[in-house]
Symmetry: C2
Subunit: 596 residues, 2 copies
């Protein structure tokens, strides 16, 4: 059976030593979140994840969700009780505005904790995860009255939330949505249509579910400019806030999926369901994007989370499994064989995963702290800078962390050989569960296109320019530090290659947008690599500073090895990305569609 | 529902135009296999795969195999009938010696056909696949009497075969085998022990199953030098060849696996089962290696086969699915959206898969033709050269084709977005099924180690030297061909980098074997990339020759695009492999085991 231990110490090290947590003191809410408080909250969240959520992960996968003949959907054994504990602990509304029943703690804390709960049980974590996304959309776009009705119940975990975009003919291209909204005399709308792939679409964890639904009001313009957002509760809410009769929305079936079996991914049929417009008519897409951007960072966390739990279990196996002898001679001649951790190629696989994980955790925290700054800073310039950074990094983190996170679960599975392929060790579930994060909330190709087509040129390239400036400033500041130097060479090279790639896109994508599309995936990964390399440089600096002030724990010593490994063995990929990108769209667009 | 069309025309093009099939005329058996005959056989095999095996692929996955309370194991609905058709068609013994009931056709033909049957239904194809491996081991090491008893029944498909190596405590390291063989008075042995992960271990397709089992004769030396090979039939065979009573071997359970559900992967319990020694006492490992080497090439084929069928289905989807508009403006304004094949990043994913597939098919055919030469050539020098090539390429093909083949099924799944994640489109099954090929018959890390530790230094590096000579000769011969030049640059670069890597290993691995282990994966992939690049160069040359003699079909025009794409977009990885390899074992071995 797989196990899991939340990396609380690492989260705290990053906050304190790498990101200089004290400097965020000026942000509202942060004063209630001293490092002691943060540590206590992380510790409680870790405990819940390790002791309540993780033990349900494999059984949840095996049992899956059930749609009964009467249309009710039930979650696997134990999920209801676990959800109750989760909700009662106040975890759903952790960073929600206290005026609406939340705890008002910083957003970065929610992100850090999401890693733990997803590592423990991704399918479970999606139920509250979608709720917080729905809350964010309501907070930004709903009327005060709507917020009062829904948000406190969602923040408390009494109700959950969903997002309803996809239809059979319509995934990425939301302009193709067919679900109709017909105005009713009382100001509500009758929503009719079919939505598919709706995560947490129906279940027995809560009495009500708040569906956010994209639909087209009769007579609206065609395409994305005719789409509106509606709130459609599963059970109608009376004026006094109590639950009334059921709404006309039903689960038609549960999708048969590769993984996340314990999350009920539903076909939802809206058959004249009562819904209420959120925000303005035909402005549903921008409203949904608030939810989606938040969700994208949450999905990026999933990439890391599964990579982390897969690492932990593969490393434990490698230290225990006796098989063969070290290439340099028996390490433990008294035993029938050495543990497979002695083999360089086994270590390579584990180190590739771990060198990614620790930098990815840093990058996510940096993005989450930027989100806090962007929302809470009293200084407009600081808000703008942070918002630029968050906008730039969100697609990169979503795309790169889920691509690599998934690949890492495959690597971790490989460490176990045949035992990785059978179900009992739990490794193949990590692979199956992790696979979805490359697809949902915008497939990774869409993230790459969002990056090169939107985020890069936005505001005259302000965000990427600022990113280069931050990396350059760091390199300049530390130029004279000979101890740090070995950790900076590859970053310098990669950021140079990223600048070349950016320049190439500026020169070649305007005239031919296919050059942007053809290079988008490589650009995203090149930026991701540079970002992770930057994180390792900052981590190495922080560790060396601690070293100068005394000895290092084994954990921190390991970080120096990992930083070196990342530089030597993972950064070389940057050159291949640049070469591919600058080859342009020629060979990609040359083949006629029929010849595929 | 997924579909499949066997690439018969491509196989024939490779044979005829790239590998100059006529030049193999001198090999025994090839005179019975004129290109017309080959075409007819491939066509029949394609038909069987497309019409009989492929329709059972999804249902077989869903139903899986069943172990009944009485211990009997049954295969999914339809498998028995399909197997009957397969056996009666003479497909199992296609390249088996006619003296033992086979058809004596060339081995390359069996390899080409294996691609088709595995693309159609990997779980099914494993039943006869393991049989041919077991036949090879018996042909090489069994006594004449043993061959007469078993081989004809296996070649006809009346009985199947298995290989029994793995035990709970023993996977890669066969020295840890505990299964015991106690000599009996009549010359047989009583075999006792437990084997796990036994593919096709028990089933209802045939009346008998011939288990080849590694076990330790009482008093044998410890480690791999004390292991012997035994033939242990499921049902004992009487002197007249008829079936007698059941042997003491039972299926304890069927493993719960990530994929290949329709293949019965068994825990087999041998409880004093009667077995007969194959070959010499304590010389079981070399005997099993015959089977394993043959099986490794078969597993390499699986990598290609799943990549091919995944490609076909992803490409079909991309041409049909309407979603969004081309970046350069609507391609079909009359429709609500363009097919997603207009998007560069969708094309990139498809082209990466296809540019791999067509070169991998060439490389496999080249290796299989080398196997035919090595076994059948009247010329000793030609046999040696071919055997060297086969030995060198086998681990590369197994490792690289299954690593990349699996990654390609993931890419193909990505093309379908959410539809790739749900079961009904069949894409997620390709991913789950394909995953095993990176693990079994020696995990890919073992292939890499076999390559750098054994195949590279063997006979003073004769095989790799010959490989470099072949590539160099090709480049030299075609130096003046300006039409071909654009397809050769990357190959030249990569083979130079491969030579550097080889030199680095020669200089750094002797003193520190960890440098070989640390670089083994990159070396294997660098060699694989060079090999596939060499195949593309040869394919491009063949296509250009045809072009000079008249027009090209769309299919052959496409090959020129793919060759260019491979050069521009896939070969750049070579530099990253070299950089990682030459960074050595330092950062890999630095971390103490406990710190993982």
């Amino acid at each position: 059976m797989p196990s899991y231990k939340a990396p609380v110490r690492d989260t705290l090290f990053l906050l304190n030593d790498v990101f200089d947590y004290a400097r965020y003191d000026n942000l509202p809410g942060f004063s209630d979140a001293s490092l002691d408080i943060v540590e206590a909250v992380l510790g409680e969240g870790a405990k819940l994840s390790e002791e309540v959520l993780q033990p349900l992960n494999r059984s949840g996968d095996e049992e899956g969700c059930t749609r009964h003949v009467d249309g009710r959907v039930t979650t696997p054994k134990g999920f209801k009780e676990a959800y109750k504990a989760y909700a009662e602990g106040g975890w759903v509304g952790l960073s929600v505005d206290p005026a609406y029943g939340g705890q008002g703690l910083p957003y970065f804390l929610a992100i850090a904790l999401t890693e733990y709960s997803v590592s423990a049980n991704q399918a479970f974590a999606m139920y509250p995860g979608l709720t917080t996304g729905a809350i964010a959309a309501l907070q930004t776009h709903a009327s005060e009255a709507q917020k009062r009705i829904y948000v406190p119940k969602m923040a408390s975990g009494e109700w959950t939330g969903t997002m309803n975009l996809t239809e059979p003919q319509c995934g990425t291209d939301l302009g193709l949505i067919k679900t109709r909204a017909a105005p009713l005399a009382d100001g509500a709308y009758a929503i009719t249509g079919q939505k598919i792939f709706i995560s947490a679409g129906d279940h027995d964890l809560t009495e009500n579910i708040v569906h956010l639904v994209l639909a087209r009001i009769e007579g609206a313009p065609v395409g994305v400019k005719g789409i509106s957002l509606f709130v459609v509760p599963k059970v109608l809410v009376r004026e006094d806030g109590s639950l009334g009769e059921g709404n006309r929305v039903t689960c038609g079936s549960i999708e048969h999926k590769m993984g996340i079996h314990a999350n009920s991914t539903c076909v939802l049929n809206f058959d004249g369901a009562r819904g209420w417009l959120v925000g303005e008519e035909n402005r549903g897409l921008p409203a949904m994007f608030v939810m989606m951007n938040e969700a994208r960072l949450g999905v990026a966390v999933q990439g890391l989370a599964l990579s982390e739990v897969a690492y932990q279990n593969a490393a434990a196996y490698a230290k225990e499994r006796l098989q063969g002898r070290a290439l340099t001679g028996a390490r433990d001649a008294g035993k029938p064989a050495d543990p497979i951790i002695v083999h360089p190629d086994v270590r390579r696989m584990l180190l590739e995963i771990r060198a990614f994980n620790e930098a990815a955790r840093a990058a996510l925290l940096w993005a989450a702290l930027s989100a806090d700054e962007a929302r809470r800073s009293p200084d407009a310039a600081a808000r703008r800078t942070a918002d630029d950074r968050l906008g730039l990094l969100t697609p990169v983190l979503k795309g790169v962390l889920t691509d690599t996170g998934f690949a890492n679960t495959v690597k971790a599975q490989q460490v176990l050989g045949g035992h990785g392929y059978v179900a009992e060790w739990g490794m193949e579930q990590f692979v199956r569960d992790s696979r979805i994060s490359m697809i949902y909330e915008g497939a990774n190709g869409i993230q790459a296109l969002d990056l090169v087509g939107r985020k890069l040129p936005k505001d005259g390239g302000r965000a990427i320019t600022a990113f280069f400036a931050e990396v350059s400033a760091f390199l300049a500041q530390n130029k004279a530090d000979s101890e740090l130097a070995p950790y900076l060479g590859a970053l310098k090279a990669a950021s140079g290659q990223l600048q070349q790639a950016t320049m190439w896109l500026m020169q070649n994508a305007m005239g031919n947008p296919d050059n942007a599309g053809a290079g988008s995936n490589d650009y995203m990964h090149l930026l991701g690599l540079t970002l992770l390399g930057f994180m390792w440089a900052r981590i190495a600096k922080a560790v060396l500073a601690k070293k100068a002030n005394g000895g290092l724990s084994e954990e921190l010593e390991a970080k120096l090895v990992l930083a070196k490994f990342f530089n030597e063995r993972m950064m070389p990929e940057a050159g291949a990305h640049l070469a591919r990108l600058t080859s342009g769209a020629g060979s990609i667009m040359a083949m006629p569609a029929a010849a595929f």
